[in-house]
Symmetry: C2
Subunit: 374 residues, 2 copies
C-alpha cells in the first residue's frame, strides 16, 4: 500500500488534508534564485543538502538552479537520489558497515559518488568494498573544524590520514569536508563570522599539511545556511552545503543578519497545514499534529499569518494554541498554517510535500529518501 | 519503491542493518502475558493503543492475547489496521474534517468503529458523514478528566453533549472516553494513584449525569501503562488503552512502582540497533542515528547492556556516547543497542520493526500505519 496522499494537483489549498507539509513554490523558487545570485562570481558552488528535504524532486530543482549535485548523510538517501535522477552525490558522513559500503560502491556505476573518512580503522573497510566492486571510490577526509563531532584534528593529522587513504588501491583522496554545524545557529552575525574565521584557519592549516605531502586538492566542501557568505569569501571553499536556505524554519528566523535585524535573506517556504480539532476552553485550541508530524527538537512551531495566536505546547498527537485577547477566535475544523521549528527532522516525518502556488496545489512530491537512513 | 528493508528472517542480529528498531520477541510476549494476567477476572479488557506502534501485526498479537481491539488516534491509522485484519477500532481523537469522516464511515462497513466528540459544533459534521454513508456511527464523548487537553467538563456538560449526539439521526452515543495522559508519567506510584482517584470521581459524576437523562452506557475507555491498575480496580472502566506496556522505554523506566522501586512490571522489549561510525577523541563515540531514527521529545535514549557508557547528546544524524574510565572501548563498526527514550514517536520514524529471538531475526514487520496521521 503506497502511503496516503493528502492532495492532488489542481486542488484548492483549503481542501488539502492535514497535517501536511506545504511548499510555497514562489518563496522556494525565490530562495533558490537568491542563493544562485549570492554564489555567482565566487569560487564556491552550491551542493544543496538533501538531508534537509530527502526529496529528489527538490534536489533536481536545486541542480537546475546551479547546484553541482547534492549531499546526503546516508547511503539509503544517496540511493534514492540516484534513483530519482541525481548524478552527483557526496555522502557527508562516515560509512563503515560492509553492506552499506557495498551499496555505496554500486552507486558509483550510475553517478559521481564520494564519501567521508575520519579514522584509519575505516580505510580497510572502504577499500575492500571498492576493490570488491572493482571501482575507485572518492574519499574526502573530514576535519573537525570546531564542532566537536566527527572529524580528525586539523593540520598534520589530516595529511597522515589522507596519505593512508590515497595509498589504498581502491581509494582516491579527493579533498576535505570542513563543516561547522553549530556555528550555523549562533544568533549574532559577528559570532558566526568569528567562528567561521577559526574554521577557515583550520582548513588553511590542513591544506598546508596536505601540500607538504603532495596531496593538496581543490575540493573543500562545507558551510550551511547560517554562515555560507563567510566560507564563500574564504577563497578556500569550492562548495557550500546549505540545506535550510530553501525552506527556512522558526529556529533560523531567530538568528540575526549582518545588520542586527532578523536573518531575512531567505523566505519561509515550508509550512505545516493543520486543522483545529478541539477548543474546549476559552483562549485554547488544539491542532491535529504532534510529535509525529512536527519535530520539536529545536523548539516548537510558530503560527503563520494569524495575529495574537501562539503555539503553547506539543504532545504526541496535538499542538496546543494559546489565543490572546485580541486574536480572532478559531472554529472547529478551521485550518491553520504553522512554520516548523526545524526543517530537517520535520520533512522526515512526512511522505509527501504538497507544492502550492496562489492557494492551488501545483504538484505533490514524494519525500523519497525519507526514513531513519541506512 | 518500497522502503528499504534492513533485515530478512533467518539473519543473525549482528548482520541487521542500522539504525533499526528491534523487537525482543521473548520480552514482548511476556509483556502481553503479564497484561493479560493483570486484567484477568476484572471488568476491564485491554484495547491496546496502536498509536504506540502503528503496526497491524503487533495489534493482532495483542488481540490474540485477549485485547478487544485497538485504539488509534487517526483515521489513516484506523484504515491501516482494518486493512491489516483488525476488526474493532476506536479512534480516540476528535475527527472533524468531512473528507476524513467520509473515510472513517466507510471503515464501519468492514469493522466495528467508533470515534470521539467533545464539541457540539462537530455533531453536524459527524452526522452528515454518517448519513451520507448510510450508516450509524458510534460516538463516545470525551471527558476532560484532568489532563487539560481535549474533552468536555465532567458531569452535566457530558450529559448535554451526549443527548445532542444521540439525537442526531446518524449517530449513536456509545459511552465515555476518560483518559488522563499526564498522570501516566508521574514518578511516584502514590501520585499516580491520587491523580487517578480524582479521574475516577469525574467519571462517576459524568455517569450519574448521564443516568439522569437515560443515557448511561457501560463503555468507559481510558487508562495507560503508568496507571492502569487504578482504572482496572475502579469498577467503572471497561477498557484500558495501554500502549507502552508491550515495549517500555527509558521514560517509563524512570517511574516508580508501588514498592518505590523502578516500575518493573514490564520488560524492555524495544531497542534501537546502531553502529559506531566515528570515535575521534578518547572517551567519545558517535552512533549512526539521530533525530530521524530516535525521537528525543521525552529525553535521550539510554545504552543497553554496556556498563559505563552513556548517551550524551543527539543531533540530526548522530548520537554521542560518553565512555567512562572503566568502560570497554568501542571500535569503529561495532553495533550498540539503545533503549528509546519514548516509544511512540520513535516507532513512527521507522518503516519496519525487526523481530528478534535468540539473536536471530524471526520476522520483519511493516509499521504499516506510520506517518503524520491523517
Amino acid at each position: 500500500m503506497p502511503p496516503y496522499r493528502p492532495a492532488e494537483p489542481g486542488m484548492s489549498l483549503a481542501d488539502v488534508d492535514t497535517p501536511s507539509l506545504l511548499l510555497d513554490m514562489d518563496a522556494f523558487e525565490q530562495n533558490l534564485a537568491t542563493m544562485a545570485a549570492a554564489l555567482e562570481g565566487s569560487d564556491a558552488r552550491l551542493r544543496g543538502h538533501a538531508k534537509a528535504h530527502k526529496c529528489s524532486e527538490i534536489a533536481k530543482r536545486q541542480i537546475a538552479s546551479g547546484a553541482v549535485g547534492v549531499c546526503c548523510q546516508k547511503v539509503s538517501e544517496a540511493a534514492a537520489m540516484v534513483a530519482g535522477g541525481v548524478e552527483n552525490v557526496l555522502v557527508t558522513n562516515q560509512i563503515v558497515d560492509p553492506a552499506k559500503l557495498g551499496r555505496l560502491c554500486e552507486l558509483t556505476k550510475q553517478a559521481d559518488v564520494a564519501v567521508l573518512c575520519d579514522d584509519a580503522a575505516a580505510i580497510p573497510l572502504l577499500n575492500a568494498a571498492a576493490e570488491n566492486a572493482a571501482i575507485t571510490l572518492n574519499v574526502l577526509v573530514e576535519v573537525d573544524v570546531g564542532a566537536g563531532r566527527c572529524g580528525v584534528e586539523p593540520g598534520d593529522a589530516v595529511a597522515v590520514l589522507a596519505k593512508e587513504v590515497d595509498a589504498a588501491k581502491g581509494l582516491h583522496f579527493a579533498g576535505l569536508q570542513a563543516y561547522h554545524g553549530s556555528a550555523q545557529h549562533l544568533v549574532s552575525a559577528a559570532d558566526r563570522k568569528s567562528a567561521i574565521a577559526k574554521t577557515i584557519e583550520k582548513v588553511k592549516a590542513s591544506k598546508a599539511a596536505l601540500a607538504e605531502v603532495g596531496l593538496d586538492r581543490d575540493w573543500v566542501t562545507g558551510a550551511g545556511t547560517g554562515s555560507f557568505p563567510n566560507e564563500r569569501d574564504s577563497g578556500l571553499y569550492t562548495e557550500v552545503q546549505a540545506g535550510s536556505f530553501a525552506f527556512m524554519d522558526a529556529d533560523y528566523a531567530t538568528i540575526e543578519g549582518d545588520d542586527g535585524n532578523p536573518f531575512a535573506t531567505f523566505n519561509h517556504a515550508l509550512f505545516l497545514w493543520t486543522t483545529v480539532i478541539s477548543a474546549p476552553r476559552a483562549g485554547e485550541a488544539f491542532l491535529d499534529v504532534g510529535h509525529k508530524g512536527h519535530s520539536k527538537d529545536s523548539g516548537l512551531a510558530t503560527v503563520a499569518e494569524l495575529d495574537g495566536i501562539e503555539v503553547d505546547g506539543q504532545s504526541d498527537e496535538h499542538t496546543k494554541l494559546s489565543l490572546g485577547h485580541n486574536a480572532k477566535p478559531l472554529t472547529i475544523g478551521e485550518k491553520v498554517k504553522l512554520i516548523p521549528g526545524h526543517v530537517d527532522p520535520t520533512f522526515n516525518l512526512h511522505d509527501w510535500v504538497v507544492c502550492v502556488r496562489d492557494d492551488k496545489v501545483e504538484d505533490v512530491w514524494r519525500i523519497d529518501a525519507r526514513g531513519p537512513g541506512y
